[in-house]
Symmetry: C2
Subunit: 336 residues, 2 copies
């Protein structure tokens, strides 16, 4: 019931699908790369599954397929980007160069992005910063789907945050990427499609009552993870994205959404810090000592370990794409 | 069963107790202020309850009551502090001036503190930054008490983080301050003292099994809030504190601890960002619009609202101190 294709094929299919609807080469390349990295790491909910949505946002006019982001050098440690309704992976890739240069010279830098269209995975945005030696944060909002603790109305986006830290011994950076919602919306969509239940605590139905039916939650509201503490994290993410960028909060993004099934107009921020100038040259070895202890304790795992294992496997074996999605993707790529 | 005293009296008692064991004026003033702010906001677990521990750490020699922190201007956006075993509130107060100046000129700045002794509340550390208009984070570790998700051995500290954001209309900043542990250790200690149960999910007993007996959890390990997501936050906090400062991770702090009942040698970091240079002058009004929506939804509350209500009340009515603690505090202050 599924096809197996190489990562190169995945990238080429996505690139061709974008080109076919008039997406400029830089946006097409960066967004195809983003989708491919999600597939490589086994994150199906942010891989080719998202391609039809991206294409829909071009067809509906909500995305500007020719836009180049406007990058402002706002202060010695600050970068402010207006994405001009481009796909966010281009805003990130363009801005990250200046962000890294500032973090290198100042020791820390921050970048905000507003007015970009996104529903991609987050870790690919900061992994390159950690590969350059930075400790890095990123925060992103979405249109509002999540009620605050104690409430029943959608206010926050699913509001993921990601954090990455360089490792020693030539190892790939540790990176986690987690929604402030109890469950990622992509997972709920896939559960609804496949007829599975949602994890308890994922959300409320349209009647304001808890349910494990993912379709009902998608019509109602999602809930934050971890009760009021997760709700505070979700609030922080909205302030660090819609607030700090001067763009849309989750509810403003939702109000502006045209229901094309594509990515919403969202905001993102980054912080990159050079750890060596604070902790000295022993930083990476010190981090490895902590990780070694963690990995020695029962079933404890480092965040992202499963992704890295998937990455090693898919580089060899390629990825599987469910038949119906594969047919859709081939059609979008003009190979139908 | 309790005395009622004014905030001035609380501050004076704490200051005298510190002076009586030879703590220098700057450390005594800042730490007494910290304790008093916790009491003012109704956070008993970080108020006078902590005073005997601070005093014990002077008597045992783990704190240096005469130390002045060493403040290094590490980069245009970085401040690195070695507390030289002083009480952390002095490191924070001394370094925050340079941190704020850097954040103002660079747009963002980061400060790390290592080798300071702390078990205080966190929001008082960043509230002054938000009052100056900065969006601010702080992270702090403790000696290890918390197992990672999937594990049974103490690795992380309780690892609180706090986040503060300026508000509009002359309102006090929004600030949250929450442990990465499911339950603050101070709350478990108070529950054990008072014979109450711990909230389910707080931790494991020495046998590695879940329990709601706070005394058993204090002998075993605490658990992170929110499962593997809270565990990732706890890991992030250890990396942002022990890692970034080049000081102790939680388990290193525990190994160095002399069991005097006082604060451990811990690490902290701060990030301060000037939102106006990214979001423009509409930032505060935009934030208020988000908060207004949140407050209009059912039982949803802004983090810290209860603290601010307590603050308004205790300014008028003073604070209550449980009789036995009050007797101890008076004795430490030389008024026994």
């Amino acid at each position: 019931m599924s096809a197996t294709i190489s990562l190169e094929e995945c990238r080429a299919l996505a690139f061709e699908a974008f080109s076919n609807v008039g997406v400029c080469r830089p946006q097409a390349e960066e967004t195809a790369d983003h989708i491919t990295r999600a597939e490589a790491d086994g994150c199906k909910s942010h891989g080719l599954f998202r391609l039809p949505g991206f294409i829909a946002s071009v067809r509906s006019g909500s995305a500007d397929p020719q836009a180049e982001p406007d990058i402002v050098d706002a202060a010695p440690g600050l970068v402010a980007i207006d994405g001009r309704r481009c796909f966010a992976p281009l805003s990130v890739a363009r801005g990250r160069v200046l962000l890294a240069a500032k973090a290198r010279s100042q020791g820390i830098a921050c970048m905000t992005i507003r007015n970009s269209l996104n529903f991609s995975a987050l870790w690919p945005d900061i992994e390159p910063l950690a590969e350059q030696g930075f400790v890095a944060f990123t925060f992103i909002n979405s249109q509002s789907f999540v009620a605050p603790a104690g409430g029943t109305k959608a206010l926050f986006g699913t509001n993921p945050m990601a954090f990455a830290c360089p490792r020693g011994d030539g190892k790939a950076p540790m990176a986690f990427d987690q929604a402030s919602a109890a469950t990622a919306r992509g997972e709920l969509q896939i559960a609804a499609r496949d007829g599975h239940e949602a994890p308890p605590g994922s959300g409320l139905g349209p009647d304001g009552q808890p349910t494990i039916d993912p379709s009902e939650i998608l019509k109602g509201v999602q809930l934050p993870f971890g009760g009021y503490k997760g709700s505070a994290i979700a609030l922080m993410v909205d302030l660090m994205t819609g607030g700090l960028s001067g763009g849309f909060f989750g509810y403003e993004s939702r109000a502006a959404y045209n229901d094309d099934g594509g990515p919403a107009n969202t905001c993102q921020s980054f912080i990159a810090i050079d750890p060596l100038r604070l902790a000295g040259p022993g930083f990476r070895a010190h981090v490895e000592a902590l990780f070694e202890r963690l990995l020695a304790d029962g079933d404890a795992r480092l965040p992202g370990d499963r992704r890295l294992a998937n990455r090693a496997r898919t580089a060899e074996e390629g990825i599987t794409v469910e038949d119906r999605l594969y047919a859709t993707v081939r059609e979008l790529a003009g190979r139908g």
